[in-house]
Structures are given as structure tokens and as C-alpha cells.
Symmetry: C2
Subunit: 261 residues, 2 copies
């Protein structure tokens, strides 16, 4: 039986996506035990593996079979550009933190965001190796597995740690060294998904990086549910189109940084 967009409740959709994600987690764990096939993309540090491709293929096939009217924007291959965000759009990062996946076999995530007419509805960040699936959505709250999380404190920009892309930090893009120096410290995990999880847990106050839509779409749904703000580093709206300097932070920290940078 195919359930169309109009007659499936959020609950059913969430259950379905979770089932898919658990399967992709098993797939990733199985495939990483055999030899990885690693291909470089735009540069030496921009790599894709057979696992990225297999996970994406699995998820795309599920979505296309169940929801043939929906659109898909995904990191690999021919799915990586989209004309517009109208209708229901699935944003997929099959392996977020591919370098961590290749060299650490941990500290990566499988991610899905569900948007309707450009508005974030559901977000899923699956930290496969820690068996932690963070998920939630507009009006649903945010969960880690079956535990509902509490919103972290609305901290100021200087009152904790920030996740910042190291390349941007060294180049001082948008004067972000001032953000780091003003803060208690800077951390760099190497996976956007894990940086969003870090904000959800209150481990970091904010995150600045250079991201594609599939990197930020799932996490933005979740952190907004906790009152965080997210935008381009220039304060303009996220474009969901190509790579963009990105900032997310608690409301207080975000407002402070927008005055500072």
C-alpha cells in the first residue's frame, strides 16, 4: 500500500523514516567492514565512498517508491541540485562527515530533513556508531531515540564553546576570529550533524561553517524547535541552493554575533 503525502500522519512518517535510517545504519556498518572504495570529488579532502552512494541509493529508492510526487535534494551524484523548494522536499546527507567515516569509522551521521514549501517539518540525525538517533520536528519536540530532550539554556555568545570550521577560522571569514576569542573556546568535530547534536545537548552555543543544504537542513529543523536561530553568516536567509557560509546559535548569542561581525 502506498500512502500519499496527504493521508499520512507525521507519526507514521517519522516511524517510516526511522525504520529506513536503522537499515542504512546496518548497511553502513556492514560495508565499512569490507574495503572502502574512496573517490575524490572537488579536491583531495572532498571524498565520497561506496557507502555514501549505497546509503543514498537506498533512501532515494524508498522515497521515490513511497512518495513519487516528492522532490529529493541529496549530496551525491545527480541529486545534488534542485530548482526550487516548492512542494515536499527530502534533503539527504547519506554520510555526513565522510572524512571522519573514512579515517575514524565513527563521528559521522546519516541525515534526512523533510521540508514543505521551504518550511522545515522534520529532521533526523543518526549517529550510527553511538546508536543515537536525534529526531523531531516543528511542534513535535526533539528526541534522542525515545527520550524527549529539554531545550538548552539561551546562553550568550561568550558563555560557552563554539563549533567553528577551522579553514574559515584561519581565514577569519566574516571576522569570526572575534567570535572564537570572545567565547570560552572553539571545537571542531568534522561533521555538521554532530555539531548540531552538540548544540541540541547544550555542549556548544553555536556553529559556523561552510555548508550545503543537506548539511544544515535536518539540523536546522531540530535546533529551531529549541529556539536557536540559523541563517547565512551574512544574516540573510538560507538559500537551500549550493554552498553557503552558515551560522546557527542560541537566540541571544546569534543576536550578539550579528552586531559583532
Amino acid at each position: 500500500m502506498r500512502l500519499g503525502r496527504s493521508n499520512m500522519t507525521n507519526d507514521l512518517l517519522v516511524q517510516k523514516v526511522k525504520t529506513w535510517l536503522y537499515k542504512t545504519g546496518e548497511l553502513a556498518k556492514k560495508l565499512e567492514k569490507s574495503q572502502l572504495q574512496i573517490t575524490t570529488k572537488s579536491s583531495r579532502n572532498d571524498v565520497v565512498t561506496n557507502v555514501d552512494k549505497e546509503v543514498q541509493r537506498f533512501l532515494v529508492a524508498k522515497i521515490e517508491s513511497e512518495f513519487p510526487e516528492d522532490k529529493i535534494l541529496a549530496e551525491e551524484d545527480e541529486k545534488s541540485s534542485l530548482v526550487d523548494m516548492s512542494g515536499r522536499v527530502w534533503l539527504i546527507d547519506p554520510i555526513d562527515g565522510t572524512l571522519n567515516f573514512v579515517f575514524q569509522r565513527e563521528n559521522f551521521a546519516i541525515m534526512i530533513g523533510v521540508y514543505e514549501d521551504g518550511i522545515g517539518k522534520l529532521g533526523f540525525i543518526y549517529d550510527v556508531m553511538r546508536s543515537e538517533l536525534y529526531w523531531g520536528g516543528a511542534g513535535l519536540g526533539v528526541f534522542c531515540n525515545e527520550n524527549k530532550l529539554e531545550s538548552p539554556k539561551n546562553s550568550g555568545a561568550k558563555d560557552g564553546l563554539w563549533g567553528i570550521n577551522v579553514g574559515m577560522y584561519v581565514q577569519n571569514v566574516g571576522n569570526i576570529q572575534a567570535v572564537g576569542e570572545n567565547a570560552m573556546g572553539v571545537r571542531m568535530i568534522g561533521s555538521a550533524g554532530l555539531e548540531f547534536i552538540s548544540m541540541l545537548k547544550g555542549n556548544t552555543i553555536g556553529y559556523i561553517s561552510n555548508l550545503y543544504p543537506w548539511d544544515y537542513a535536518p539540523g536546522v529543523v531540530l535546533i529551531k524547535e529549541f529556539g536557536f536561530k540559523a541563517s547565512g553568516l551574512d544574516g540573510l536567509a538560507l538559500t537551500f541552493n549550493g554552498q553557503q557560509y552558515f551560522i546557527a546559535a542560541t537566540t541571544q548569542a546569534y543576536n550578539e554575533i550579528m552586531k559583532m561581525c
Copy 2:
């Protein structure tokens, strides 16, 4: 019964230290649930908590009671300087990664190194929140809890990820931006202990930071057992005296970097 230095086997000593560490882990978990008392030291980002002090007090009391002839070099209070490394010396970092401890309540470690006449004998890095105790010593091998680890590959400097102190990286101390740009990527956890664990697991090839003896003494024992090299960033021997620019890496990567920087 008190067992003196001469008549205690390594095995007994290891068991004793592990028992102490498990107790300090319980102590840290109990104390962090109540209100932390946080005091700044040299700067706003250099903090100590009541937990650091309580853990150190516990370990110092155990060592002084069991091994009254031994020396202690530890991060907090009056134990933080030592005239020389002769005899048996215990190096203690009661909470390594204090900012992570304060803001994240994870990603910190309790660490002990045991040195004899300046030679590393035993190292312990306890990742309390993950219940992972990395330990081992000269000729003993390296373990995570009861599992003996295999030595990671002797990778070249460009063939993986590095842990690098973000402040040093921005200032390009010792030309280390060349190390980062040559590598596949740079990560920053914010705990020396966890950076050493990362090398032991093969997650990172090397680590560059600005460290005190209690930050590097335990980890150096363990990584040397796996053939890594460690020294001052200038290539000179570790001083075990005050803060020092530090580098550790696989033999191949270390040798490459020493030619490069």
C-alpha cells in the same frame, strides 16, 4: 598492608591505580550533578572546579599513603611544580579538558602517568562518561578496559586527520598551518587525553598543542608503546617542566613534519 616501590609488581600497581580511577570517576559523576564551583586561574578560559580539586585530593592522598617516598606532579594547587624527575614520579591531571567538563559534562578525562627517573612506565587515561579506561605501559601493550588494542598504521603526515590546538593554528606557531593544509583535515576535541585516545585508535595521525607535563605524560607512555614519537614542537626532548609546545605523531608523520616545519 603497605607495599613499597620495590616489592610491588607492575600488575598489582596497575590494578591499584585502576581501582582508584574508577572511584574518582564515580566521585566526578556525583559532584557534577550538584552545583559546580568554578574558579578562573590565569585567564577567563583557564578554569578549575571543585571536582578537579576533589579528584586530585583523592589521588594524592592514595599515593602519599601507599607510596610515601614517591613524588607527585599534579595540575592543581601546590603540586604543580617539581624540581626534577628522579625517582618515581606520579603525574596527575584530575580533570583534563576542564572547559568540556564544565560546559559539556563529557569529553574530559582523568589521567595518571607513572615515570621512573624520567622514563615513562605506566599511563592511564580514563574517559569517565564513555566508561573507557585506556591504560598500558612500557612492554605491557595498550588496553581499552580489558581489550588489548592493535597498533594503528604508521601513516604519513598527509594521510589522515590531525588534532591541533586552534589558538596555535591561527597564530601559525612553528608553521603548523602547513601541517594542517598538508593533512586531510584538522580536528579539535578540547581534551589532551581524548586527543591521545584518538591517536591510539588510529583516528588521528598526530597532535600538536601547548601542554603541561600532566597533559602529556600519561598519553606519551601509551602512544610510544605503539611506536609514535613525541617531543617539543622544536624537536627537543619534553622538559616535564612548565608549559611546552608539543607534538606527537606516527614515526613516519613525525619525521616528515620535522623536515617540514
